[in-house]
Each structure stands twice: as structure tokens, then as C-alpha cells.
């Protein structure tokens, strides 16, 4: 393997890692703040992608640069509404943590099949964020991939800054660290619950817009990505930010190299095999966070 390919693979691995991390961070944020694991988040991803497609090349043919903020905003609002309408009312029932799991799965089924009903089963393609490739001598990299990398890292950075420096971000962290403490201090806990879902939806929408041009859109597209995020979380530890970050990049780099060396659609299975293997030796995840 020459240096070029190596760098290419590494970059691809890091880029993918950043995108998976967007999904994983969304799940972790929601879980930390609301103690709910949103099994329907993959469907948020799918809807983000399909909405962007519909508004642009699919139907209305709007300029993609307008479509992107509209999609992100729409998903944000949808995420918040989802929490308010479906998750919040369930809290008053005993045993709601189990109920919520099944309800979010049911919602995933409904959302996925609404996509099928509305858009049909055939794959759709969304526009690349930039056409063409950059070339440095013999070294070529797709422009879209560069943008994917930059945007994903930028979103993660923004999220980090938001959580650590802004008042609302701090409030979100406070709720995830001590829910009762947050109530005592007068934080608007219910609003923060919705907000966390909204943010997770934004992250999913961005991930979809970045990935969809590569993977194409099909009704179950969200599941492929969210399952990888699940594995990242299992290994990194739910709520353990550092662990999740490391797990995400490590797994994606392994995935890229394995796909290159062994070929085929080994991506997801590799995640699975690694997950079970690691769990056998370290039942508490990579970092003992469980």
C-alpha cells in the first residue's frame, strides 16, 4: 500500500468517524439529558435526507443551499415536537423507561414506512455538496469528501462550544448531571428535554445531508448509520464523551481499512464483530463506563 492510499484511507476513516460521531453525540446528548434512548433517531436521519431530496432535485427544485438550512430547521422543530408530543407524556407512567423504548421503536416503524408510502421504495440520490476532486499531483480527493470532513468536525466543535460556553448549553449539562438539582435551581427542565431532542435531530439532518450523496437514499437508510452509532455508544460508554469520540474514530478507521483490504459490504458486520469481541473481553465497554 502506498502512502497516498494510506492517507486517503485515513482521511476517509476520520471523516466517517466524524459523521458517525454526529449521530452518536445526538443519542448521547438525548440520553444524558432525558434518560431516553431514542431508537427512532435513525428515522430522523432518513427524513432529513428525504426532505432535502424532495425540496431540491426530487420535486421542488429549490437551490440546495437554501434547502439545507430549511431541512435542518425543519428537523429541529420536528425533534422538539416529537419529544413534547410522544416522550414527555409517557413520563408519568411507572416503568416508562421500558415503555419509551418500545414506543420509539414503534415510531421508527411508522416514520420509516411513511417514507415508503410517500416516496416509494426506489433509491434516490441527493446532490453532492461539491462536484469534482481536488488534485495535488497524483493525490486526488473528492471535493464532497473534503466538505464532509470540514462540516462534520465543525459541527462537533460547535456542539462542544455550545455545551461548554453558553448558558443553555450549561443548563443541558446540568440536567444530565443531576436532574433534581436542575429542578431545584429552577432550570426549565421540560424545555431542555425538547431542546436536546431538537439538537439531536439537527445533527442527524446534517449527517444525512453529508452522507446521502454517497450512500443514496432508501427507506431504511437511517438504520445503517444509527446501528453503527449504537455500537460506538456501546463501546464508548453511554454518556462518556471521550470514550464515544475515541470509539467512533477507531471503529470507522477499522471499517475503512477492512473494507479496503477485504472488500465488500463488510462495514456494518465489522462493527458488530468488534462489538461482540470487545464485550467478551471487556464486558463494561472499552472504558469500563458501564
Amino acid at each position: 500500500m502506498n502512502v497516498e492510499t494510506l492517507i486517503n484511507l485515513l482521511l476517509a476513516g476520520i471523516t466517517l468517524g466524524a459523521v458517525y460521531l454526529l449521530m452518536a453525540m445526538g443519542l448521547t446528548l438525548v440520553y444524558g439529558v432525558t434518560k431516553v434512548f431514542n431508537y427512532a433517531q435513525g428515522s430522523f436521519f432518513s427524513w432529513g435526507g428525504y426532505l432535502a431530496w424532495y425540496l431540491s432535485v426530487g420535486y421542488l427544485n429549490w437551490n440546495y443551499w437554501i434547502v439545507i438550512p430549511i431541512t435542518v430547521l425543519a428537523l429541529f422543530l420536528f425533534g422538539m415536537l416529537f419529544e413534547k408530543a410522544i416522550v414527555l407524556p409517557l413520563r408519568r407512567f411507572p416503568g416508562w423507561d421500558f415503555t419509551v423504548i418500545i414506543v420509539t421503536l414503534g415510531c421508527a416503524l411508522v416514520l420509516d414506512n411513511l417514507i415508503l408510502v410517500t416516496f416509494g421504495p426506489l433509491s434516490k440520490s441527493t446532490p453532492h455538496l461539491a462536484e469534482g476532486t481536488f488534485t495535488f499531483g497524483e493525490f486526488a480527493i473528492a471535493k464532497h469528501d473534503v466538505i464532509m470532513f470540514v462540516v462534520a468536525i465543525a459541527m462537533l466543535g460547535l456542539l462542544g462550544l455550545f455545551l461548554s460556553k453558553t448558558r443553555i448549553g450549561m443548563a443541558l449539562r446540568a440536567v444530565s448531571q443531576d436532574n433534581m438539582g436542575a429542578r431545584i435551581v429552577g432550570l426549565p427542565v421540560n424545555t431542555l428535554y425538547s431542546l436536546s431532542f431538537g439538537i439531536a435531530a439537527i445533527l442527524s439532518a446534517v449527517a444525512a445531508i453529508l452522507l446521502a450523496p454517497r450512500t443514496l437514499l432508501y427507506p431504511l437508510v437511517g438504520w445503517t448509520t444509527i446501528l453503527k452509532a449504537f455500537v460506538v455508544i456501546v463501546l464508548g460508554g453511554l454518556g462518556n464523551i471521550k470514550g464515544t469520540v475515541i470509539a467512533s474514530f477507531a471503529l470507522s478507521i477499522v471499517e475503512i481499512f477492512a473494507t479496503y483490504l477485504i472488500g465488500g459490504i463488510w462495514g456494518l458486520p465489522i462493527f458488530l464483530i468488534l462489538m461482540v469481541a470487545i464485550l467478551v473481553f471487556k464486558p463494561k465497554g472499552l472504558f469500563g463506563a458501564w
Binding site: R167, R173, D178, R183
Partner: protein, 234 residues
């Protein structure tokens, strides 16, 4: 300022509070004594809107606390400092305090409140960059009270402020609470040990088995048989 009327509260089938009524005047200092596990903490939580009673009502500043959201209760100046502090473990002392000033009424006065908290508890200022989970018992207690102060309370409900603290720390904590009271904040506290608290309180209630068995001025308390039996074991 605070009127509690005939509160009844159940944990499942067990009745924890029976027909409890109490009153705190504006600027007053009221202590609730009684053995552990007899409902004192539960009563405080009901008063501060964290638990809903089966019947009865709590009136604060003329308004019913019953259906309000916790953020509105805190915004109205009714602040609760729990026994198990509920600090934000991964945040620094300073961040914890800042979170106390989140609600609308407290935001504008954040820096003044911060200065006041550091004046009351100078140790906290030295610890301001330290993470809350690393604080000792006494420091955590101070931080909890300090954080409560950041919310601009007009009424402070404290659960066991001196529990588990060394005697000299206990004195400091009560001195601080008294100073807060002298600024115009009404105080309601729950304590297991009567020694220091009864010196500072105007009125005293004794809760046994979820029922009020004594209420009166604190000087009356020591001469009351009930008080002595329940709280001092005499």
C-alpha cells in the same frame, strides 16, 4: 408569607404526612424538629412544589404552590436546599453557582449575588475552580446553600443544613443562615438536632409520625414536655 394547610401525603399505601399545617411569617425563622424518617424532608419537598400532596394546599406569598412548575416556583423566590445537596458533580463550584442564577429574576443580579456568596463562604471562593464532586461534606453543604442564594430567594427552605458536619462548621453554617435571614429572607429549616437551630429560630414545630405534635415560639419549646420528650429524649 408561607401558609401550609392540612397537608396529607402518601408514599404508596403509607401515610407519611397527616393534616400538617404550619406558618412562616415574612422575615421569620422557623425550625421543624423531629426524629428521622418522620416526614420532615417530605414536608419540605411538598412545600417547595417537588412533591404533590394528596390533599391540602401550600400558599406562598398568597399564591398556591400546587400546580406550578419548579422553574416558576424558584422564580418567585421559593428556594429549596435539599439534604443530599444535588450539586452538579462535573461542574466547578463557580459553574454550580452560576447555574443557580439561571432563572429570570436572578440573572440580572448574578455578580452581586456571587460576591455575597463568597463573602458568606470565603472558602468557596478559593475553591471556585474545583469540581463539585471533589468537595468535602461541609464544603458541599456551603455550595448548596450558596447556590440557593444565587436564585435570589425571598424564602429559603433548607433540609438539615448541619447534618454530618463538624461542630465548628455547624456554627459557621448557622451563622451564615442567620446573616441571610437578617437580609430579609424568610427561613424554614428542618433539623434533627435541636441544639443550635433552636437558638436562632423564632418558632418551632415538632413533627412526629408525620403529625405536628408541637408548635410554638422557641422559648416555649424548651419548657414543653412534648418537645423535650420527642427531641431531647428527656
Amino acid at each position: 408569607m408561607l401558609k401550609v394547610n392540612n397537608i396529607n401525603f402518601f408514599y404508596g399505601e403509607v401515610q407519611v404526612l397527616t393534616n400538617v399545617s404550619l406558618e412562616v411569617n415574612e422575615g421569620g425563622f422557623v425550625a421543624i424538629f423531629g426524629p428521622n424518617g418522620h416526614g420532615k424532608s417530605t414536608l419540605l419537598k411538598v412545600i417547595c412544589g417537588l412533591l404533590r400532596p394528596v390533599s391540602g394546599s401550600v400558599e406562598y406569598d398568597g399564591k398556591t404552590v400546587g400546580g406550578l412548575r419548579t422553574q416558576d416556583i424558584v422564580n418567585a423566590g421559593l428556594v429549596y436546599v435539599p439534604e443530599d445537596r444535588h450539586l452538579f458533580p462535573e461542574m466547578t463550584v463557580l459553574e454550580n453557582l452560576k447555574m443557580g442564577a439561571y432563572c429570570k429574576n436572578a440573572r440580572a443580579t448574578e455578580s452581586e449575588n456571587l460576591d455575597y456568596v463568597f463573602h458568606l463562604f470565603p472558602k468557596l471562593e478559593r475553591l471556585s475552580k474545583q469540581v463539585a464532586s471533589s468537595l468535602s461534606g461541609g464544603e458541599g453543604r456551603m455550595l448548596a446553600i450558596g447556590r440557593g442564594l444565587m436564585s435570589n430567594p425571598r424564602f429559603l427552605a433548607i433540609d438539615e443544613p448541619s447534618f454530618g458536619l463538624a461542630p465548628n462548621l455547624r456554627v459557621d453554617v448557622f451563622k451564615a443562615i442567620n446573616e441571610i435571614r437578617e437580609r430579609g429572607v424568610s427561613i424554614l429549616l428542618v433539623e434533627q438536632s435541636t441544639s443550635i437551630a433552636s437558638d436562632y429560630a423564632d418558632r418551632v414545630y415538632v413533627l412526629e409520625d408525620g403529625k405536628v405534635v408541637f408548635e410554638g415560639d422557641s422559648d416555649q419549646a424548651l419548657s414543653s414536655e412534648v418537645f423535650r420528650k420527642v427531641c431531647l429524649g428527656i
